[in-house]
């Protein structure tokens, strides 16, 4: 079996963060979160655990909604979605996310597509995983320029949902809602705390020694490279083919 790809590590980490959920929704153009959810489903099936439902927006195969695009939000509002993924052009130390743009609103010098469902789903989905591969100070800022969705809310505001973890190409963080701060949980192999600190524009908590993100066990890896990659192909053909090619390359090396 070839070397573990960085992306495989992210997918396995996501499956770990989703442990125990019954229904996870994945936004469009999110192949790594989708793969993590599919891996979780495959693992649950293998281990005889309760069935995991996955809703992938924009997929025919993995989208059972029949009431239009409103149904995802209705479903989330009813508490029927346990986990969701959000990214952000900017994410700050209090887990506020910005999907609108940099600089002054509304004439942003850099304008991104917009907030999509974030200003709602972040409030009502219990386990929101922040996922952003690029780990640089321009993404992880001290304070976002625009709050598409806030990390925490004042007392009295209906807020069953919120940030659970932040996963990047360098590290995995948890989020403490009381302290309104991220905590570094593990650093991916080949990277260091110093590197994570230098690439992060906000301060975060961590122990003196932070463990390395663990390697997946061979059985999990085999499931990922077999069944999950095949399932992924339907919705993200380009991504699945690219990953298969990388795997062939790493096996040949």
């Amino acid at each position: 079996m070839g070397a573990i790809l960085p992306r495989e590590r992210l997918i396995v980490a996501i499956a770990g963060l989703l442990d125990g959920v019954r229904h996870v929704a994945v936004g469009a153009s999110s192949p790594i979160p989708a793969a993590g959810a599919m891996l979780l489903r495959a693992l649950a099936e293998r281990d005889g655990k309760p069935r995991v439902r996955i809703s992938i927006l924009g997929s025919r195969e993995h989208n059972f909604f029949t009431n239009g695009s409103a149904e995802l939000f209705d479903c989330a509002g009813q508490g029927r979605i346990d986990a969701f993924f959000l990214g952000g052009g900017q994410i700050d130390g209090e887990a506020n996310i910005n999907l609108v743009g940099t600089g002054d609103y509304p004439r942003n010098p850099v304008r991104w597509p917009g907030s999509f469902g974030s200003a709602y789903l972040y409030f009502v989905v219990p386990r929101v995983i922040l996922f952003r591969e690029e780990h640089t100070p321009r993404v992880f800022v001290e304070k976002v320029d625009f709050v598409s969705a806030p990390g925490t809310s004042e007392a009295g505001v209906y807020r069953p949902g919120g940030p659970h973890a932040l996963l990047t190409s360098l590290a995995l963080f948890s989020f403490d809602k009381e302290r309104r701060r991220f905590r570094l949980e593990s650093v991916h192999p080949g990277h260091s705390i110093a590197e994570v600190t230098a690439a992060t524009g906000f301060t975060f908590d961590h122990d003196e020694a932070v463990p390395a993100t663990p390697d997946p066990d061979p059985a999990t890896l085999a499931l990922l490279r077999g069944r999950v990659l095949t399932e992924l192909e339907e919705t993200y053909p380009q991504f699945a083919r690219q990953m298969a090619a990388e795997l062939r390359g790493s096996a040949a090396a």
Partner: protein, 271 residues
């Protein structure tokens, strides 16, 4: 019954209209984009249910739009919406930034004929801070402080979308793309293009009837073969990613956008 032309449909959209358009995967009448632009429409208030893509981007590029109300503007895998991004930077268009379920809530209120719908979330966002039309109210059924956001009804003058089929009575088959029904319920006038007209009533069979938008809500229907292209149409044809990618590249400058429009005009004339 003679079918109206696409230009006839475009003529039903007045200047300054509030025009509602669906998300890319629900069925966009791209065939109507050019007739709308050719009509020289001005000052449109475009509402996207709940996000917009190439069609509203082209309307912005052509100078038809004064206000865009949407949760996002994107060409999907092809990247950001070029004319929208440029217009925002130049301040050429007013943006009413929203979040998907808030747009749905506005349409739902219109569907019910009530002034507003309430929705969780949004409190503490800069979206809410920049939407004076959204109001935070107290939940009247709670003894505790319980703020909740009230979203006013969105009542478009016109809605336009594309579907696989309609029948001779003007019933339109929308399948499970229920956001198309939301558009039609809320809009004063709904204009639909379809791949084909079928001879049997879509209401005759309970299986198709379940996915029918009745003619009651539909002002006009006309055939536009491949009318969603280059965006795909569910159950019919996939998106032409190459063509959307070409648009994404060429429309990055105003000149490129114009050339894209002119190039497509020449192609049409050659047919």
């Amino acid at each position: 019954m003679t079918q109206p032309t696409l230009d006839d449909l475009a003529a039903m959209v007045p200047h300054g209209a509030k025009l509602a358009l669906p998300v890319d995967y629900a069925g966009v009448s791209m065939a109507m984009t050019r007739p709308l632009i050719a009509r020289g429409l001005r000052d449109l208030h475009v509402v996207c249910l709940p996000t917009g893509g190439m069609q509203p981007d082209m309307l912005i590029g052509a100078g038809c739009v004064a206000t865009i109300e949407t949760s996002a503007m994107t060409l999907g895998e092809a990247g950001g919406a070029p004319c929208f991004t440029r217009a925002v930077r130049e301040g050429a268009v007013k943006v009413m930034d929203a979040t998907c379920p808030a747009v749905h809530a506005g349409f739902l209120a219109a569907q019910k004929g009530v002034p507003f719908a309430t929705l969780r979330g949004m409190i503490g966002t800069d979206l809410l801070a920049n939407r004076p039309d959204w109001k935070v109210i107290q939940n009247p059924f709670s003894d505790e402080p319980d703020p909740i956001v009230a979203i006013p009804a969105i009542r478009p003058d016109v809605a336009i979308f594309h579907c696989p089929m309609a029948d001779r009575d003007g019933n339109v088959w929308i399948g499970r793309r229920r956001e198309l029904a939301s558009l039609a319920y809320a809009a004063e006038r709904t204009l639909v293009t379809v791949e084909r007209i079928v001879e049997t009533s879509l209401l005759a069979d309970e299986v198709t009837a379940a996915g029918v938008l009745p003619a009651l809500y539909v002002e006009a229907v006309t055939v536009a073969k491949n009318g969603a292209a280059p965006i795909g149409l569910w159950g019919e044809y996939p998106a032409d990613m190459e063509a959307i990618g070409r648009y994404a590249r060429e429309a990055r400058t105003p000149e490129g956008f114009r050339a894209f429009l002119d190039g497509a005009d020449r192609l049409l004339e050659a047919v």
